[in-house]
């Protein structure tokens, strides 16, 4: 019983981690986030449903196209809800991204409809069994933590070794100096938003076969993922991923041992407790503000 709860928690937690990574990448380069990350996740699932189930595209082009659309959405978020406010030194991007998320959720209600639909996956049909006993999870659930780790590693590698990654790091370290060195900081920030939406889209597609596809599927996930990002220390990619896994496993184990009535109370109390103990998050470092 604990083994299956642990495995299910790992999968759930990796999903939170993926979404939270999206908060991390934009925060790292620009100090801003798309609060409606859950809407980007929903879009990933809805685009995948539309292309794979409704239009019957083959898997690979459908996934690529859905992710491209997510990236486009990320660019729109940055251009419409973040840049205009940051340019004026305003913090209104906070509420602007939330507002854009609500607009997108409702647009999805209109076009996709309110009825939940199913996005089948061959990896979520029969559970994994060892001998005669079922482990209580689908192969997809075992795959998600691997995908999460791979993406975190890829981000880490790209950040240190590729030209774009180094440019991003430069923008993180000192935006003015980077811009003087010929790095187009505006483009780097826009790219970070696109990447953030793609990560959310991947999470949405991975989660859809386990849950179902509907217009408000991202709301609660987005909220929990933000808690995870803060818990892990939003400036650290590995920290965010680890905090996601921790949060998911905690949720699953608390439900399994104490009962579902305690899950939300204890997990969020845990978040508050950890932040009181380490205000920068579990893996974050204190930011030094230079005057």
């Amino acid at each position: 019983m604990l083994a299956s709860a642990l495995l299910a928690g790992l999968a759930l937690g990796s999903m939170y981690g993926l979404l939270a990574l999206g908060y991390h990448v934009t925060y790292a380069v620009s100090g801003t986030v798309n609060f409606a990350q859950g809407s980007a996740m929903m879009l990933g699932a809805v685009f995948a449903y539309a292309l794979i189930v409704a239009l019957k595209w083959p898997l690979v082009p459908a996934v690529a196209c859905a992710l491209a659309l997510c990236a486009l959405y990320g660019l729109v978020v940055e251009a419409a809800a973040v840049r205009p406010f940051v340019r004026r030194g305003s913090n209104a991007w906070l509420i602007a991204t939330v507002a854009l998320g609500i607009v997108v959720d409702n647009a999805a209600l209109f076009t996709f409809g309110k009825e939940p639909r199913s996005l089948p996956s061959p990896l979520a049909l029969t559970p994994i069994t060892v001998g005669e006993t079922s482990l209580g999870i689908y192969p997809l659930q075992a795959l998600i933590p691997l995908a999460g780790l791979a993406l975190a590693a890829l981000l880490d590698f790209a950040g240190r070794k590729t030209r774009w990654g180094i440019a991003m790091l430069a923008v993180v370290q000192n935006r003015e100096a980077a811009s003087l060195m010929g790095i187009h900081t505006g483009r780097v920030i826009a790219a970070a938003y696109a990447l953030s939406a793609v990560l959310a889209g991947i999470a949405g597609m991975l989660i859809a076969p386990l849950l179902n596809v509907n217009a408000d599927m991202g709301t609660l996930f987005g909220l929990k993922a933000f808690a995870v990002a803060i818990l892990g220390g939003i400036a650290s990619a590995w920290g965010v991923m680890a905090a996601g896994v921790l949060f998911g496993v905690a949720e699953s184990l608390i439900t399994a041992t104490l009962g579902s009535g305690y899950t939300q109370i204890l997990t969020f109390a845990l978040v508050i407790g950890v932040l009181a103990w380490k205000p920068q998050g579990l893996f974050g470092r204190a930011a030094v503000k230079k005057v």
Partner: protein
Amino acid sequence: MTKALSRRLFLATAGLVAAAFVLSPRAQAQEPIKIGLVTALSGQSARAGEAITRGLTIAIDEINASGGLLGGRKLVLVRRDDEANPQKGVTAARELVFNEKVAVLFGGLDTPVSMAIVPLMNAEKKPFVGPWAAGTPITKNGASPNYVFRVSAVDEIVDKAMLNYAQKTFGAKNCGMILVNNPWGESNEKGLTAALTAKGLKPAGIEKFEGSDLDVVPQLTRLKAAGADCLFLVGNVGPSAQVVKSLDRMGWKVPIVSHWGPAGGRFTELAGPSAKNVHFVQTYSFFSRQGPVGDKVMKALMAKYPDIKGAGDITPAVGVANAYDAMMLTSLAIKAAGSTDGDAIRQGFYKIGTYDGLIKKYSQPFTTTVHDAINENDYVWTQFIEDRIVPVGAS
């Protein structure tokens, strides 16, 4: 010129007099009786609202074809969308009562919306008839006199029926509850606990889950560990599907007795092949052997709506069946009242003798203390066979 004018005047006056003489009594006799409906007509529950509309329409057509009510007055249906939102529901109800002057108002499927409309109707002394929403306090609202009547399932009675069915069909001795974490789940937690207590029993466990929960395995594992030999499931179609998929993953084959949530959408698509293991309550099924009323309604539905080709297309069936019977009973109440006065119709409901309806043969369905026409003996237990809701035992 004067001659022409006076002739024109004469003709006009004669015409007016004739018109007044000929038209006025008939115009009065034929002024239609307006029947209001406030339900979800858009969004997730649009299909349910459409089902209620169809049931009412078939009944109204039948009444009008046999000459209408109160000396030839025809019935007309006036609909408003509540978007499943209580505020919008009250606004729509107010508009129908004050502007459209409906004689009777029908409600929709959402308990919170109906609960919001109830005080308005009792204050305005207009009958409010529920063909769907099952919340116990809708009819048991404490008002006296009470203008709210219902032809549908009632949570607390459904809960008793769920326990009886689990014991009778599966020999269940230790049932666990798996309930969606919202007011509907809570209301059934109360009802189920009361039903168990009445028989000196205790639940194996009470577990809640969120509508957005990815995995209900931990909750179900607890119920399994507590030795549950049967599950009571309460949740809308999406959450119910999550429970079924989680049971699949655990490989736990346990009887599932459910409220009518799975009937509200694409349950087989969402829950997969194990969807058929869920036994859930309905008030009527068009798949069982139909009586004369069933045949008549089915024929009328197929003639009126080209998308209905058989029993499988009448979805959700409970909406159509409840609304049809509710409209027929209401017409008997109006007949007994002899007018469209709200209080007279309310008392008219108590005067209904017997009526051979779709769901059952009603015999004095309403009294001053009983405002629910349907009780635990009238429920039908069903399961999904492919995407059809079929009475258990039939295939």
